[in-house]
Amino acid sequence: MMIEVTDLKKYFYKRKGFFSPSSDPVKAVDGVSFSVEKGSTFGLVGESGCGKTTVARILSGILEKDAGRFSISGKRDMVFQDPFGSLNPRMHIYGILSESLKVSKVSPAEARARCVEALELVNLDPAGVMDKYPHQFSGGERQRIAIARALVNRPEILILDEPVSSLDVSIQAGILNLLKDLQEEKSLTYLFISHDLRVVEFMSDTVGVMKNGKIVECASAKEIYSSPKHPYTRILLEAVPSF
């Protein structure tokens, strides 16, 4: 297993005032368990506020867990929802891509080679991209750049938090195809988080449906979509406008 999560918990406490006792915690993640096999995609789906992003942030190392265990067997990297907010507007693309390599003490020549490799993987022309700034790109191109940034570290696991939610459908299709190609080529393992049930079905091998900090149903994508067991899964599926 590349990712193994057991009974993960994260509570947020809202402080009312300096002296008053804190109120009941918001149980953002309340006992979540799942595992992801190498080279497969685990889709985590749920409505806003269900805790799916908190899971992503804990597994990414951005947030501390309160309780439970998780193990990640391999290098991981992240791609976030908003390709406008997640790329530093004052850095050129080469700077954005190579920033994390500086930490791992990669030589400048090697860093350049890795950036070229990553940009080619996301089907962008490295020569035409590296010296430009994020505002010079469309939303779809920015998301490709965000994926390239995750790839420069040659990760084995990608945590993708709503990677296509802010994109037009035609752009979304290109990014989903790209993610599938990359997975096949590099046998990457994905944790794919989205509120869109159709996109999750398209991408995932296994799906966890999350509600109020808990996974209410977890099964193969086929099972979840053809014979949902939990009433909440059924409600979600019925709410998708058929087309």
Partner: protein, 263 residues
């Protein structure tokens, strides 16, 4: 069939750029037209042109915008202002930014009615009616926008747009920012109100599945042009234009067995 809105060869420029390029379509009385397109295609600009609310710098080069037969293009800003609310009203995409954050929701809705000459007592009474109409308790009107959920804000936005009984309701991506279960309630609400009050709707969205659920007719917009229009069944089931086919084809569906999406 009478038309509530007829747009005829409308062309709008902003600076050197053409944002609407000779579009023509109509919204028939009592029907819902879904105007579909990707970002930057000109959907919202079209809506703003209908309301006479184009941003500064936008110039209508040619064409007509007929609301119940009256062309609003040659009208003065004052004349257009009087039409807004009664002839056409709009619910904006992001109800969180569209509402004034420091004013109670109810005051904002009554403000609109008072501006159209309604008495304070009349507006208060109508406010209670409106909130019940969008299935909210009138008590919600005392709250500030941030205290409402996304779905409640969108309902109040629709209530505000309906406050003066418009002939045409324009909804700009009313469900885009909402969860699917909330989206379903909003769509059901719009269908139900439309059937009861018999107004016409210009429904702007990028989502074909939403159009399929709610619209009678569809117009597909790309780069300022209408590339295809017709009844929903025709456009969605047998799209005539390559762009429409492409847009419909690249959406994953439930039960999709394709390994890749056409781009």
């Amino acid at each position: 069939m009478d038309t509530t809105l007829r747009i005829d060869s409308l062309t709008v420029d902003i600076g050197p750029g053409r944002v609407i390029d000779g579009i023509s379509f109509e919204v028939a009385e009592g029907r819902i037209l879904g105007l579909v397109g990707e970002s930057g295609s000109g959907k919202t600009m079209t809506a703003l042109a209908v309301l006479g609310l184009l941003p500064e710098g936008a110039v209508i080069r040619s064409g007509q915008v007929l609301l119940k037969g009256n062309d609003i293009v040659p009208m003065s800003p004052e004349e257009r202002r009087r039409l807004r609310g009664k002839k056409a009203a709009m619910s904006f995409q992001e109800p969180f930014t569209a509402f004034n954050p420091v004013m109670r929701i109810g005051e904002q809705v009554t403000e609109a009615m008072r501006a159209h000459g309604m008495s304070r007592a009349g507006a208060e009474k109508r406010l209670a009616e409106l909130s019940r109409m969008v299935k909210l308790s009138p008590g919600i009107c005392r709250h500030y926008p941030h205290e409402l959920s996304g779905g409640e804000r969108q309902r109040m936005m629709i209530a505000m747009a309906l406050s003066c009984g418009p002939d045409l309701l324009i909804l700009d991506e009313p469900t885009t920012a909402l969860d699917v279960s909330v989206q379903k309630h909003i769509l059901d609400l719009v269908s139900e109100l439309q059937r009861r009050k018999k107004f016409s709707v210009l429904f702007i969205t990028h989502d074909f599945s939403v159009v399929n659920k709610i619209a009678d007719d569809v117009a597909v917009m790309k780069e300022g042009r209408i590339v295809e229009k017709g009844s929903k069944d025709k456009v969605l089931k047998a799209p005539g234009h390559e762009y429409t086919r492409k847009l419909i084809g690249c959406i994953p569906r439930l039960g999709d067995t394709r390994k890749r999406l056409p781009v």
